[in-house]
Symmetry: C2
Subunit: 348 residues, 2 copies
DNA sequence: AGAGCTATCTAAACCGGTTTAAACAGTGCA
DNA sequence: TGCACTGTTTAAACCGGTTTAGATAGCTCT
């Protein structure tokens, strides 16, 4: 019989007070005698009562949940090493506040918009994380229209009513280029991500401007799609150039590791014949052979900061400031070294 | 003013009927004249009304959401290629039913139990997916006690009140071993996952019994933790054996790719000196050099089947049958080949 | 003693649905 | 004409909280 969850009425009855009093006690509202509060909390404790999320949700019109929509395009993002750690960081903030994370995986295109609409219409979440920003991202006006609070992961290029949580990729990218230049490379190529993404072009332009600052021009800039398959393709194109690069900087580790495989399959030795650098410091980066020089960010901290910032917005704070995280750092491993022309006579 | 969401009362008023009638019409309950139903649905349509999840949740005591708890131990599971695809499969079923997926990432140990308790106490979900089963998994009695419906991903070893969704790893594992034996290998080693996991031991025992059926014994069986770092460690131990193996079968791709790196770092050529096989067919498997021979499952279909099965339980069906998926398949790539003793004289 | 406070607490409305019991209208039948 | 019956619809209770307006009690002050 008493297998049912106790409700606020049970607690009220047991403590000999009204439902309202219990609610006041629970939420620390003033206007109750301390003795009464103690009595109520004791009763709640004895009954093991925890307020029902559903009741609360209905009466205060909040979901006590945040949403993350991951756009799973066959070509993009399918197994990004970023998300698990990011989500763990988000979770570490949510769990202490009794919030939940609602995850939605959708295809790109129309389905994506539908995904956000559903989240908003069903009032499933109080706010969303906007990841993988695109230029003139259509989701920003969409969320504005839907009235759904959000934070953007990094800064969008257009105007945005939402605070941004920023982890600057550019210093790390610049550091990679400087590292290669110091090693003596002058023929550097780049494999970037889809230019529709803000972070893809941010990395690419950081690379180009760092090269320019060193008085260099890239041998070639390939546009790829962040996947291993794309990395292979781009690498093959670069290696068959009349004047192939002595170093390739990839916009993420997956493309870099695939590129490493492609280079080795083509008979090259890394880093003697070709230096390779990635971005992300994914788990495998350290363990492939040779270890991949890359750029390390802290997606867990990113998740924490994003959750905290989004909660400020959700809680109704106005003018929430952007949150800035320490920028990503260069991690030098064995996949980068001096260019072949310095170590041994060039075969031309 | 009219910026607010319409409620069922608005629809009722517009259609000139009672709230109850609208509810009946919406849910296709009998007892309403067809003309009335049409009138109600038209009114709902004009107002763009969608029933509030919160109201429904409260009155029918359902969350319209399913939960997935991922145990994120530093050592295990951190960036498993399985989950993104699995979640996408789950989502494809949930979205059509208007359900949401609540994701929880917790550390192993006590926090894990707390995670499930929270999900149950907060009544955030109607059921959960139980992944990465362990032997005598404590979560099964826990969920039973909590009264939270579940499905297990693969079959637990103890008794379980929950249906299982099964994707048999063993045929694929056996196929790997047979493939190596056919190539002529007799000195085969294994790097398994933590024996606490049901799927880890399932793969290991399948390997051992297939070897035995071929009249062979493993050179060595290393127990590792599914991480790249662990794969490196185990590989180093195997390679420094007095009689090192000519082939290593890993329980997942991450360990295998790391092992590949370790072997190459040790100066070995794969597959000439050492054959390597993984499990999962993760994205990079195809693109590392040499391409990794591995076993491919279909986590998307797994997710679909799991979601469908869990929904049967949640909807109150009794005696839900287990769902069985096509077993994982061997994918042969370049990382496996004839053992060195056959191709060239052994250096002993 | 009565008015005016303040501190404490309660009753009741409300959030937006579902569901049950009862009301109502119309029909067939004795 | 009255009764039973079917088909249709509604009013009201209910889910479990929060919140507002108002009741009550105790106290001070004149």
């Amino acid at each position: 019989m008493s297998k049912q969850r106790p409700t606020i009425a049970d607690v009220a009855h047991r403590a000999g007070v009204s439902k309202g009093a219990v609610s006041f006690a629970l939420n620390g509202r003033p206007g109750l005698a301390q003795a009464t509060v103690d009595k109520i909390l004791a009763a709640a404790d004895e009954l093991g009562w925890r307020p029902s999320n559903r009741g609360r949700s209905l009466s205060v019109s909040k979901a006590f949940a945040l949403g993350l929509v991951i756009t799973r395009d066959p070509a993009v993002l399918s197994s990004d090493p970023f998300f698990p750690a990011f989500i763990a960081g988000v979770e570490s903030v949510l769990s202490s506040r009794g919030q939940a994370l609602v995850l939605q995986v959708v295809m790109a295109g129309e389905e994506e918009e539908a995904g956000y609409r559903r989240l908003a219409q069903d009032a499933r979440v109080d706010g969303v994380f906007l990841s993988d920003l695109r230029h003139d991202d259509p989701r920003i006006p969409l969320l504005e229209e839907l009235g759904l609070p959000a934070v953007t992961l990094n800064r969008p290029d257009g105007t945005s009513p939402f605070p941004a949580v920023i982890l600057d990729d550019r210093p790390g990218t610049a550091a990679v280029v400087e590292h290669l230049v110091e090693l003596g490379h002058t023929r550097i190529a780049h494999v970037g991500g889809p230019p529709a993404f803000v972070h893809a072009t941010a990395r690419s332009t950081a690379l180009l401007s760092t090269l320019a600052a060193a008085g260099l021009e890239p041998v070639a800039v390939e546009t790829s799609d962040f996947t291993a398959a794309g990395g292979i393709e781009a690498t093959r194109r670069l290696l068959t150039l009349p004047q192939p690069p002595t170093a390739i900087v990839y916009a993420n580790d997956r493309m870099a590791i695939a590129g490493l495989g492609a280079a080795q399959a083509a008979g090259l030795t890394v880093p003697d014949d070709l230096s390779i650098a990635g971005f992300d410091d994914s788990e495998l980066a350290e363990y492939v052979h040779p270890g991949l020089t890359t750029v390390r960010a802290d997606p867990f901290a990113f998740g924490e900061a994003a959750a905290r910032t989004l909660n400020l917005v959700v809680d109704g704070a106005t003018d929430v400031p952007d949150a800035e995280l320490p920028p990503a750092q260069l991690v030098v491993r064995r996949s980068t070294g001096a260019p072949p022309s310095l170590g041994s006579p060039s075969p031309a």
